[in-house]
């Protein structure tokens, strides 16, 4: 581990010398089949770098200080840490087999990783670079979310069809809520009162009340001309004001726009093919979606609810992060 840390220091210094800090936002896209991360300058709306990384990169997320990108290299069975100054992989973290999605604790000290292949959530201590705990959950753990107060961790298990509520102090599953089939992704509302879970095969988003663990609403989707079984909700993002939720509908090639007060689906935005995960820009004015089968990302104007444009990325884009 020491070797890695010294590498980090070296590359951080290098980045100060080499790169002048820009105000512009930068987007990072994981390319599941391209085994790479595409780096996009959102001012220029252009790819500025393509970084080769470990096999089958899927879930990506920024460190809380925005200096590093954590990458689930699923087929390499580890997590890579990409230094965003030097664009070098500076550290390899042990994650357990087949990491797919993860979430960083609010204090930035831990990474909670869903190991799709072995029914565990692994807790990674980021300072030590070691796994500090394993939490047994349902079959094919996938979606991960952390409550705003850092106390409650959510994991969804795809074949068990549950959202597991995990206490981050004891690392115990304190509750499990049955949801619709194949839950893929979980997202807390900004106030932490609800958690939204998408079910790919069930074709619904289940909104769970965090206090009572009851399902408040099952949101269904309907797109004219599309069969219901082609509408498969995956990624979810909720605006910082908590008023609007965006849900990626997979092979329906659309992002649904939902009013969180009424749970009413107000709009369907046509994006690229097999839309998967999404991310806001830090000012939440733009939303980016990774479109797996058209090998591009769509850029959505959040206020206008319009798709502004698409940009080509690598092969089978899966996740997005923006800083």
């Amino acid at each position: 581990m020491r070797r890695w840390r010294s590498l980090t220091i070296v590359s951080t210094i290098a980045s100060f010398v080499a790169v002048t800090p820009a105000l512009a936002y930068t987007a990072y896209v994981s390319n599941e089949k391209g085994n790479s991360i595409t780096v996009i300058d959102l001012d220029k709306m252009a790819t500025v770098a393509t970084v080769p990384v470990g096999e089958r990169p899927r879930g990506i997320t920024l460190s809380r200080d925005n200096k590093q990108l954590y990458i689930c290299a699923s087929d390499a069975d580890h997590i890579e840490v990409l230094d965003l100054g030097s664009l070098q992989v500076t550290q390899i973290l042990p994650s357990g087999p087949d990491p797919e999605q993860f979430v960083v604790s609010r204090d930035g000290s831990k990474l909670y990783v869903a190991n799709e292949d072995n029914n565990f959530v692994t807790v990674l201590d980021l300072a030590q670079g070691v796994a500090s705990g394993e939490i047994p959950v349902g079959v094919e753990p996938e979606g991960m979310a952390i409550s705003p107060d850092d106390k409650l961790l959510i994991n969804t298990s795809e074949t068990t069809n549950m959202a597991h509520f995990i206490d981050t102090q004891s690392y115990q599953v304190v509750d499990s809520v049955l949801v619709d089939q194949r839950p893929r992704y979980a997202e807390f509302s900004p106030d932490g009162k609800t958690v939204w879970v998408s079910s790919e095969i069930g074709g619904a988003v289940n909104v769970i009340d965090v206090a009572t663990r009851k399902i408040l609403k099952k949101i269904k989707f309907e797109v004219q001309g599309l069969r219901s079984d082609t509408i498969q909700p995956v990624g979810i993002k909720i605006t910082p004001d908590g008023k609007t939720a965006f849900v990626a509908l997979g092979p329906a090639n659309r992002v649904a726009v939902i009013d969180t007060a009424s749970y009413e689906v107000q709009d369907y935005l046509l994006v690229g093919q097999r839309v998967w995960q999404m991310a806001f820009t830090p000012d939440a004015k733009l939303l980016l979606s990774a479109n797996g089968q058209s090998n591009d990302i769509s850029i959505i104007d959040v206020a206008a609810r319009k798709v502004l444009r698409s940009l080509p990325v690598g092969e089978l884009p899966w996740g997005v992060a923006v800083r």
């Binding site: 087949d98 394993e134 795809e158 597991h164 115990q172 499990s176 049955l178 619709d180 089939q181 498969q232």
Partner: protein, 411 residues
């Protein structure tokens, strides 16, 4: 786990008990739920050890636990879920010898209160089981018998079909050939009953999709035909003879469930034509090349536990056990009647790595599902094909639709 001093297992069980209690706050009463025994759900796997022909290819491994290996994985998956719901699944394995006492074995299961039965049986034996008075209120899950009669005319209220019927497979293949505009077929079939049954299914499909079977040929197996160390030249000679002087055609369909000659046809036909059917490009519920819709996870789980790749009957048995698991987790009941009612309801949906929720046809209790079309190492396509439409779901374009069947279960 180094966290906390309370033994992990105890705490999990306690918390799960509470979780289960909160989830299903029934009239069970006191908070004693945490102390109560979990809901025990025994699922029996009743099979008959019928000798099966070894694959023609020496490369293909011979699976001795075909079917039951999938059921075992299904139980593991059910239990991983069950630990959070205070439910405990057990597989009771009962394999009788070929021609053995099926009724005796079934009566013993019934006597022990086991009425959830995965049946790895041929059609005649399946009917024998389903017609036993003790089995009247059972849920029997067929993972082997592909006979169309079991869906089209001779349905049993206590039998669910996980394995697709021959008609579903033939339609899946036919739709693909039609979409390729390969509409002139030659049908070559073996002379055993299952071969003839698959040939019948192909004829039905040809009629449905207006393809033309330009000629049919039967191939009779002779003892000397099977490959020997020096047999390659002889095999080539035989297959060339079998396929010469045919009218012009697009594709050769082989019906050889007995695995006697089908794998000898590709590249040895008189005319250069693709071979599809029971060999070559095959329609199947599952294939080792299926990695879409999370399929990789199931393949890996299976390979890890069984040291071989997952075959179609394994998948059907996994689906059977997961069907029970899904119904138990949604109803919190192990009562066959309650489960039956839920499984045929509109609420039931099984996620089974096919990209769509799977459900049962109400009239014949056949699981509707996409069918894969694959060559030995590659997934080629998935049916239903684009453009084959149905008022209910495109999945019902495969096999006997309600109007084609005289069965009216669950009206």
């Amino acid at each position: 786990m180094n966290h906390g001093k309370v033994p992990f297992g105890f705490l999990t069980r306690l918390l799960c008990g509470i979780a289960a209690f909160l989830l299903f706050a029934t009239d069970r009463g006191e908070v004693a739920a945490a102390e109560a025994a979990p809901l025990h759900v025994p699922i029996a796997y009743l099979g008959e050890a019928i000798p099966e022909p070894p694959p023609l290819s020496l490369v293909e491994p011979i699976a001795k636990d075909k079917g039951i290996a999938g059921a075992r994985l299904g139980i593991t998956d059910n239990n991983t879920t069950g630990q959070f719901l205070h439910q405990d699944f057990e597989l009771v394995e009962k394999i009788i010898p070929a021609g053995g006492d099926l009724k005796g074995a079934a009566a013993a299961l019934s006597g022990a209160g086991q009425k959830l039965i995965v049946a790895d049986l041929a059609a005649r034996r399946l009917d024998e089981l389903a017609d036993m008075p003790e089995m009247k209120d059972a849920v029997i899950l067929n993972v082997r018998a592909e006979d169309d009669s079991l869906r089209a005319s001779d349905c049993r209220a206590n039998v669910f079909h996980l394995i697709p019927s021959r008609a579903m497979k033939a339609d899946a293949l036919g739709q693909y050939l039609i979409s390729k505009k390969w509409t002139r077929w030659v049908l070559v079939y073996g002379t055993n009953d299952p071969d003839k049954a698959f040939a019948d299914a192909i004829r039905r499909t040809a009629k449905r999709y207006r393809a033309e079977i330009v000629e049919e040929r039967a191939y009779e197996f002779k003892a000397g035909s099977r490959r020997t160390d020096t047999g390659e030249a002889q095999v080539r000679e035989q297959m060339t003879q079998l396929t010469q002087r045919l009218p012009d055609y697009d594709v050769m369909i082989v019906a050889d469930e007995s695995e006697v000659f089908g794998d000898y046809l590709p590249y040895r036909t008189w005319d250069p034509r693709p071979v599809v059917g029971t060999q070559g490009l095959v329609p199947t519920a599952w294939h080792r090349s299926q990695e879409q819709w999370g399929g990789t996870q199931l393949q890996r789980r299976f390979e890890r536990t069984s040291d071989r790749w997952m075959l179609e009957r394994d998948y059907a048995a996994w689906e059977a056990v997961r069907t029970i698991g899904e119904a138990v987790s949604r109803t919190n009941s192990a009562d066959p009647a309650t489960l039956h009612k839920y499984i045929v309801s509109d609420d039931f949906a099984l996620a089974a790595f096919k990209g769509k929720p799977l459900s049962f046809r109400k009239w014949d209790q056949q699981l509707r599902q996409p069918i894969l079309l694959a060559t030995p190492l590659m997934l080629v396509s998935v049916s239903p094909q684009e453009g084959f439409l149905h008022e209910r779901t495109p999945l019902d374009t495969l096999g006997h639709d309600e109007p084609d069947s005289t069965c009216r279960l669950n009206p």
